[in-house]
């Protein structure tokens, strides 16, 4: 089971959090593509990924109990 979290504009479309059961070795990028397939309007978002509170690339493989966060480019300051 992997926990998904969404922030800012993505949170407004996806809700703050949910859990998914994934096939072993699923990458963060593949998970994002499955979300886009479900909600095509997500395709226009630039997205960043973090696993367990650290930035990762799309090729990062998820493990059971991971927390993966999806968010737009940051805009603090």
């Amino acid at each position: 089971m992997v926990r998904l979290r969404f922030f800012a504009a993505l949170r407004e479309r996806m809700g703050a959090a949910r859990t998914e059961t994934l096939a072993p070795g699923t990458t963060v990028g593949a998970l994002w593509r499955s979300l886009v397939a479900e909600r095509p309007e997500l395709a226009r978002f630039q997205v960043r990924f973090a696993v367990n509170e650290e930035y990762v690339s799309a090729s990062h493989r998820l493990r059971d109990e991971d927390e993966v966060a999806f968010f737009p480019p940051v805009s603090g300051g």
Binding site: F7, A9, F45, Q46, A50, E54, P72, P73
Partner: protein, 148 residues
């Protein structure tokens, strides 16, 4: 002091947090919410944070700054929730033996914070509101994207 959360940011607390007997210089940067952006009159700004990761990123930046420059102390604070126009949304304070290091590290820290710390700004203006930088086509101003 590294903090992400609600409530006003105190310049005095930031400066106090980096006070050090070995310091010959203290540099304080305050980012404040501007009334005009992209030709729109801003009513207020609102910030959302991924709080746990934001603190970790701030700590990582503070560590990198300490390796790059000889610093005494570093403090970083970002406000979340609604921030009325004219108030402080972000603050960085650095102390060092001499001013060059404090200026350089302070500049670097605020520039990096705006690029990597997971916090997002939503601008409320007359007639609408928009997440800054969210989508190329979703109303995010292009100049804002360059400025980040």
């Amino acid at each position: 002091m590294l903090r992400v959360g609600r409530g006003r940011i105190s310049a005095e607390r930031l400066v106090r947090a980096v006070r050090d007997p070995k310091a010959g210089a203290v540099v304080l940067f305050l980012g404040t919410t501007r009334v005009h952006n992209e030709g729109r009159r801003v009513v207020r700004l609102e910030y959302e944070a991924f709080t746990g990761m934001a603190r970790r990123e701030m700590a990582a930046l503070a560590g990198q700054a300490r390796r790059r420059w000889r610093l005494c102390r570093v403090a970083m604070v970002h406000r979340t929730g609604v921030v009325p126009v004219g108030q402080v949304s972000v603050g960085v304070a650095v102390s060092s033996g001499h001013r060059a290091e404090a200026f350089a590290a302070g500049r670097w820290l605020i520039d990096r914070l705006k690029k990597t710390v997971p916090i997002w700004k939503r601008e409320h203006f007359r007639g609408g509101r928009v997440w800054i930088g969210a989508t190329p086509s979703g109303g995010a101003p292009r100049k804002a994207a360059r400025r980040r």
